[in-house]
Symmetry: C2
Subunit: 273 residues, 2 copies
């Protein structure tokens, strides 16, 4: 797991995390997962903007883009295809929730292999489990990709079958919010709905790119509450994230879902973004 | 911060945390804070029982009591008064929320100084800030002292004045739940109410000891929902945790609170438990 040169901590190899790091003690930090192609972080401006915003939401000053790019140049070869996980924590602190008056954020970049997605994910779509674990409402943390992810962990532990690609997560009121590692869109005629994330969920940058650049899809993109009952009546459903782009959903729980070409069109859209 | 011999990781000095540790990535772990007097962990059976239960709630198998006691014998001198923070995480794992099929929990014990509480905390009581940050409802994690503590961090960052001892945390429906680092009890005549923690909050062992051994107090101890409006009408209010025992609350926000001898009686109770 700790293969040589597979990660950098504060720009250096052969470092480790202090048990005093508040990322460890309290999950007091944020992260990003992005695709590296030929050594280049994909959609970097969007990822960096979101990293800065997520840090700011919990009063952490993000390291500069220059520093992170310099780290990535150290960590990834120019011909490499891989995944970068960037974690920024508030840094070290004594016991107790109050952060020190002055903190130095810890930055970690981990390299891992790009998952090998089954060809059928692209051609036939993917199946979702409906998670029993609900997402709680916390407007102060909603949308942020922070390091308090026990809900996602518990949700992901609910299934073991490899035929399930991701788990659909609802809030306490049966609204669809997202999947454990993906955002979700549902098409109803000419409307493309993605759940409102003002109370919970992670607002991924792929979701945002679809919202911002949907014009070629010729659909009315809307952010709105979306009940599970309504989702199951959608004409098409897609999941999305920064690593795979978009997949058509073909099954939710035991219910089959109609598939067409929306995920393919979104992948094309993202490729040109 | 990382003074020599101030912590043990998996029973060894001079270790650090891997960035692959799921405690770091996701806050995927639990912790305990306990007082060490003359090298002895206070109320150890209760702390260990709670540690095991909290681990089990998120499907981690806790290290044995023997292992933790052996760690504490290494870390604390027989004449030492200090604080032990025990953290147990799910262990290391690759990127992704799914834990590996086999995981080895990481155990960390950190030694720190016992906070120096002002004498006036004992004689006159303490003031509480009313936090703007609310505790979200998540029945699967309620009561557990897990490492997803961003809400407490955000709440604790709301005040800087040293005249404030702790912050009162409410749920979204204006029910009092706890303080950032303490539980709370309110006396109404012969009734002693502590908030119901079935939806959120941390069920501390001092709170549980008060519930279990309240007989000498000659009060009817009840766990019940408690609105902030009702709390402010209490005859007496006390906060409690494993380090200081119990303190009388003399002020909540700008409102003065009547004080009497409940905290003192609870401290006596805990000393004999």
């Amino acid at each position: 797991m700790s293969a040589t040169n597979s990660y950098l901590i504060n720009g250096s190899f052969n470092q480790a995390i202090s048990p005093f790091d508040r990322g460890f003690s309290y999950g007091d930090g944020v992260f990003r997962t992005l695709k590296i192609i030929n050594g280049q972080p994909q959609h970097w401006p969007q990822h960096y903007q979101k990293l800065v915003a997520d840090c700011a939401a919990i009063s952490i000053v993000s390291p500069s883009a220059e520093l992170l790019i310099s780290d990535m140049l150290q960590l990834f070869n120019p011909d490499e295809i891989a995944v970068a996980k960037i974690m920024i924590t508030r840094g070290e602190g004594e016991r107790g929730y109050a952060p020190p008056a002055v903190t130095t954020p810890t930055r970690v970049i981990i390299k891992s292999s790009l998952p090998k997605y089954a060809q059928s994910n692209y051609t036939q779509g993917v199946a979702l489990h409906v998670c029993n674990t609900r997402l709680n409402a916390q407007p102060k943390l909603a949308g942020i990709k922070h390091m308090n992810r026990l809900e996602n962990v518990l949700a992901r532990m609910e299934w073991k079958s490899e035929s399930i690609f991701d788990g659909l997560m609802l809030d306490a009121a049966d609204n669809v919010i997202e999947c454990t590692m993906s955002n979700i869109f549902a098409r109803f005629g000419d409307d493309l709905i993605t759940p409102d994330l003002s109370q919970c969920g992670v607002a991924g940058i792929t979701r945002q790119q679809i919202i911002d650049h949907a014009k070629p899809l010729e659909l009315n993109v809307k952010t709105a509450p979306l009940s599970i009952e309504r989702l199951l009546k959608a004409d098409e459903i897609v999941t999305c994230n920064s690593l795979y782009g978009a997949f058509q959903v073909n099954k939710i729980g035991t219910q089959l879902v109609h598939t067409a070409d929306l995920a393919k069109r979104i992948r094309e859209l993202l490729a040109h973004d």
